[in-house]
């Protein structure tokens, strides 16, 4: 089937759409890092297909979509995906909730990196509300993990 070959691509597109969909301000603050989660899953599952290179490209698209200086999100994304790709064998053996904690720490690192880079370029101030997505990402990881594993097994992606 043709869809098989595009599943990873399509899941990343869906994640990008979810990342930029307009939301009410409250839900906006709590929006999980869909792109990071989906890329993270594929990196853990198939590190030979998705790793730093894909993360770099998706980060660039995210930069254009969000209107940040080109390179900021790709930098943060690359660092996080590198950590996952370098440790995928260990992380795969963790339980889903342990993985969620690791993903939460990475999401915090991601947001801090984006903030630091932005801070270097413009004088933005740090508010703790910027870190709310860390918790929602952590909570949503197990469900996303199960969903994407189901998808991966269904379409036998390798």
């Amino acid at each position: 089937m043709k869809l098989r070959h595009y599943t990873i691509f399509l899941s990343i597109i869906v994640a990008l759409v979810l990342q930029v969909t307009p939301m009410p301000p409250l839900a906006d603050q709590l929006r999980p890092d869909w792109v990071l989660l989906v890329l993270g899953y594929w990196t853990l599952a198939l590190p030979n297909r998705v790793n730093v290179g894909v993360a770099f490209l998706v980060g660039l698209v995210l930069d254009i979509l969000l209107g940040t200086a080109i390179g900021i999100h790709s930098f943060a994304m690359c660092v996080c995906i590198f950590v996952l790709a370098a440790n995928y064998q260990r992380l795969r053996n963790y339980s889903v909730w342990q993985q969620a904690v690791v993903i939460g720490i990475l999401a915090a690192l991601y947001h801090l990196l984006v903030f630091w880079l932005q801070h270097l370029l413009t004088d933005v101030n740090f508010l703790f509300t910027y870190l709310w997505p860390v918790f929602t990402s952590m909570l949503i990881w197990p469900w996303l993990f199960l969903l994407l594993r189901k998808v991966r097994r269904q379409f036998r992606i390798s």
């Binding site: 930029v20 770099f56 390179g71 932005q118 933005v124």
Partner: protein
């Protein structure tokens, strides 16, 4: 498994390469502004994702439109008719004043102010980037939108066009922390610069001497200096003044006239000396 895995540079090498490339791109984009020319294409490239992302909201508002009750429509119609009548009356006076003003200006030998052209644009997306306030609108290069064009709503100045795509463009709001706008007080023509605070309902008015004639409630209009915003459009209202003599300047805050957190329809402005002319699609909305 896959033999591809061992090909190419190793993971750490790849990462270092990607990170160096990212830093290079940041520097080129931010410090040198090297992507200004290709940004149109980059924005057009990702606009399908933006259209997809704005789809749920559009569907919601479309279904909300269908479910409006008859009563609500009648009430709205009555309100709008009343508003139109009031506007019409104001417009008649405005026409009179305008012709009188033009006559006086010709008498004084100063140039007559030409009309600006206007196009209505709709909000497509609001960025969820917490560090900057930008919105995306549904008009782009094919409609004649150009960079640094001013964007208004029915109350006042909203911002300026930052990047243009083929069918969409990105607006930097006046409340963004990197934005500043030259203004004057409508009451006495004192010139000021208001910069964004990063919060949608506040602007900082910078470098105001303690002795400046400025009061809470003063209306600020664009001064036309800097050649970005045309002269005379309302922009903000002074909300607080702290005159602390131990500081070099008074601390003045203002609130934007436009309701930046509930934008829906926006006006794009083409002054007579605009580099591009607007392209209207079909309807006579000028």
């Amino acid at each position: 498994m896959n033999t591809m895995f061992t090909r190419g540079p190793s993971l750490p090498h790849r990462t270092v390469l990607a990170l160096c490339l990212s830093i290079l791109l940041i520097l080129v984009d931010h410090r040198l502004d090297g992507f200004a020319a290709v940004k149109v294409y980059l924005n057009s490239l990702v606009s399908p994702i933006q259209y997809l992302a704005s789809l749920p909201g559009q569907m919601l508002s479309a279904s909300a439109n269908r479910l409006v009750s008859h009563q609500q429509l009648v009430a709205e119609n009555a309100r709008l008719t009343l508003q139109a009548a009031r506007m019409q009356e104001k417009l008649q006076r405005f026409e009179l004043l305008k012709s009188e003003n033009d006559r006086l200006r010709t008498l004084l030998g100063s140039p007559v102010r030409p009309d600006a052209q206007i196009m209505v644009a709709e909000l497509m997306a609001v960025d969820n980037n917490p560090f900057s306030h930008q919105i995306v609108i549904d008009k782009g290069a094919i409609h004649g939108v150009y960079e640094s064009q001013s964007v208004l709503d029915d109350k006042g100045i909203v911002g300026q066009i930052m990047e243009v795509g083929t069918t969409t463009s990105r607006v930097l709001l006046i409340a963004d922390i990197t934005h500043a706008i030259p203004l004057r007080i409508a009451r006495n023509n004192v010139r000021l610069v208001a910069s964004g605070s990063g919060q949608l309902d506040e602007l900082f008015v910078e470098h105001v001497p303690h002795s400046a004639d400025i009061q809470v409630g003063d209306e600020l209009v664009s001064s036309g200096l800097g050649n970005v915003f045309p002269e005379g459009y309302p922009a903000a209202k002074i909300t607080s003044i702290v005159r602390d003599e131990s500081r070099p300047f008074a601390q003045v805050r203002a609130r934007p006239m436009a309701q930046l957190d509930r934008l829906k329809y926006l006006l794009l402005l083409w002054p007579s000396d605009a580099p591009v002319q607007p392209v209207f699609d079909g309807q006579g909305e000028s």
